[in-house]
């Protein structure tokens, strides 16, 4: 969903994997694909792989520019996030119930602080099955990625320098993934599984397995696999992942927190490593074909938009329920994503005139003013008003 900006990010099959991942999430949230939430896991592995590849390349050239790295991440991710969040607040005000608006207002500070996953853990959002009342429920994964982006570059900057840097980073990634798995096993038995599902520490193994696959020892291994065998392996892994997405019955499926998610992450890391090593192989060409790649390029904005659209769109919409409503919701999400990418993501990312230098600062100030204005203008919602009929209570 949030790819890198360097050469590694432009590997077409990996863009294609992003497209497949976001499609799975969209279908899962529409109630059409029981294991589609595993697409988020694939996003995590992709992020770990791409970010670590970029950082190690920098470390190989001498020194990791941390401030520049964080600046690029902010430029890549925050503008679209900010626009979507502000627009969603306005839409929740216009079309949401008082509870939906109240939760949206409560969640915004946590979204802005990139820590909303911990807020949702505190709120036991999984226990209450409450994501249907939170327009920002999906942003937990963006928060996990940001927290990883803050911590992991420091590790790579320190351990990745000099001779043997790749080996040290690989060892740290593997050890970190093992600790993360242990934490997931420890938290996975709880009645409320939000801690296991949305914890940065419990989900870190996906990012770290991606990071592991980006190190030289693993890359050399992937490159040594003969082309026909690599294609066969990719096909087998894709079939396994596809089966998991179709057959897994929601986030409470048995075994998910007892190694299931870890196995999924490991399979994703293998697939990504093989595809990155041979992007022009049969499997690479298929994964990097036009449709998944286009979807992948749109995946970040699409991910940001889809959940608020799903929640705020009437049911039925234009007299359409079921698959009809799903199609409309996906269509609206695609449209909103394309507009956001064209007007916000790309200009800021590629430094359009209005988005760099002094003009960029002015644009930022204007955006901030709009955000503050919306924040101030949204009236206090009053959920629960009129919810009790006293006559019914006192009736004999």
């Amino acid at each position: 969903m949030s790819g890198g900006t360097g050469p590694a990010a432009r590997v077409a099959p990996l863009d294609g994997l992003r497209g497949l991942a976001v499609a799975a999430v969209l279908l899962f949230h529409a109630g059409r694909l029981g294991g589609g939430f595993l697409g988020v896991d694939l996003f995590f592995v992709l992020s770990g792989f791409l970010i670590t590849g970029l950082l190690l390349a920098e470390a190989g050239r001498g020194r990791v520019g941390l401030a520049a790295f964080w600046g690029r991440r902010a430029r890549r991710l925050l503008p679209a996030l900010g626009v979507t969040v502000v627009a969603t607040l306005v839409l929740a005000w216009a079309f949401g119930t008082p509870s939906v608006l109240l939760f949206a207002l409560d969640d915004v500070p946590w979204v802005a602080a990139q820590a909303v996953n911990w807020h949702f853990i505190g709120e036991q959002i999984g226990y209450w099955n409450a994501s249907g009342t939170r327009v920002f429920a999906h942003l937990w994964s963006i928060a996990v990625e940001w927290q990883f982006y803050l911590a992991w570059p420091l590790v790579v900057a320190l351990a990745g320098r000099g001779r043997g840097g790749h080996g040290r980073v690989a060892a740290l990634a593997a050890a970190g993934a093992a600790v993360s798995l242990a934490l997931m096993l420890a938290h996975g038995d709880a009645v409320d599984t939000t801690r296991a599902y949305e914890g940065t520490d419990t989900r870190a193994f996906a990012l770290l397995l991606g990071a592991l696959a980006a190190t030289a020892p693993l890359r050399r291994g992937f490159a040594r696999v003969p082309a026909p065998a690599a294609d066969g392996l990719c096909a087998a892994l894709a079939c396994g992942l596809g089966a998991a997405w179709v057959l897994t019955d929601g986030q409470n499926a048995p075994g998910l927190f007892r190694g299931g998610l870890f196995a999924h992450s490991a399979a994703c890391a293998l697939l990504i490593g093989l595809l990155a090593a041979r992007p022009d192989g049969r499997a690479g060409r298929l994964a990097g074909s036009a449709l998944p790649r286009r979807l992948g390029e749109l995946s970040y904005s699409l991910y940001l938009w889809h959940w608020p659209v799903y929640l705020l769109l009437p049911d039925p919409v234009f007299a359409l329920g079921g698959w009809g409503r799903t199609a409309v919701a996906i269509g609206v999400s695609l449209l909103a994503a394309q507009v956001t990418k064209t007007l916000v993501e790309d200009p800021v990312r590629y430094r359009a005139r209005w988005a760099s230098g002094r003009r960029g600062l002015l644009a930022l100030a204007a955006g901030l003013a709009v955000a503050a204005g919306v924040w101030a203008a949204v009236p206090q919602p009053h959920p629960g008003a009129g919810s009790v009929d006293i006559g019914r209570l006192t009736a004999p």
């Binding site: 964080w70 500070p109 930022l364 009129g386």
Partner: protein, 272 residues
């Protein structure tokens, strides 16, 4: 909206603005190129004061999140009736049954919390609503309810056990259906053998026994109650407690449409 919530909102907005400014500073650096509680419990503890002096009772409320969804109007109704109330229910826990390997660790936490609440609150009545996690054999259930009765007695309090409302037995609860069915029977046996020290209240008189029926007043999750159902329960239980402990329940007009109806848990449940 009550004052506490308004204050929270203002604080939240300040925090949000601060967070947005921080995020913006990072974006700004990038643009210019140079940078390349448990509140659920605390909120329902009724004010003691003069009202408590009138009725002179303090009720500690135990149970799981079903009891938690019933707590806001119960607090309002009891406070209006001059009774002090503390909600010690637990979301995703709350059982006192030291039963199977699933319920035993939850019970351990509940017992720890109960000891602290007894020390801090000094209840006259401990009211326990049987939870969806009272898993164990009928013998383990009886033993645990008897332990609760002894604990209450040692604390100088009376024990009331209320049966759980009917709730949807989904895939999660299916394997515990036997324990869920035996729990109220075990509690009634303990009450019958207690010589009047333990009261058992069968809430099926209010809810019926069919979770899917309108009478059960379940929210869309089939387990918890929304504001109307919770208010109905508060009226029913306050009436029972009033008869047992000699206070007059306040009329619903005095408490049923109060600020408790905006409690966040109803929003999470998708209620109005």
């Amino acid at each position: 909206m009550d004052k506490h919530h308004t204050t929270t909102r203002k604080t939240s907005r300040r925090a949000a603005l601060a967070a947005l400014l921080a995020a913006t500073a990072v974006t700004g650096a990038a643009l210019t190129g140079c940078g390349a509680g448990d509140a659920k419990d605390g909120g329902t503890k009724a004010d003691g004061g003069a009202a408590t002096a009138r009725a002179g009772k303090k009720i500690l409320w135990l149970g799981d999140s079903i009891a938690g969804a019933e707590a806001p109007p119960l607090a309002a109704a009891l406070k209006a009736s001059g009774v002090e109330f503390k909600n010690a229910s637990s979301d995703g826990g709350g059982t006192i049954v030291e039963g199977d390997k699933m319920s035993a660790p939850i019970a351990k936490d509940t017992w720890k919390g109960l000891a602290k609440n007894i020390d801090a609150f000094h209840p006259d009545v401990i009211a326990y609503q049987i939870t969806t996690y009272d898993w164990g054999s009928a013998e383990q259930q009886r033993a645990s309810y008897e332990k609760l009765a002894r604990t209450a007695q040692d604390a100088g309090a009376e024990l009331v056990i209320v049966s759980a409302p009917p709730f949807k037995i989904d895939d999660f609860y299916k394997k515990f259906a036997g324990a869920i069915a035996s729990a109220p029977k075990a509690a009634k046996e303990v009450a019958d053998r207690s010589g009047g020290k333990v009261r058992f209240l069968d809430a099926s008189a209010l809810w019926g026994t069919d979770a899917g029926a309108a009478k059960a007043q379940r929210s869309s999750d089939g387990i918890h109650s929304c504001q109307q159902g919770s208010a109905a329960f508060a009226k029913w239980l306050t009436g029972k407690l009033g008869s047992a402990y000699g206070f007059t329940p306040a009329a619903p007009e005095k408490w049923a449409a109060g600020s408790w109806t905006s409690d966040a848990r109803y929003g999470k449940l998708g209620c109005r």
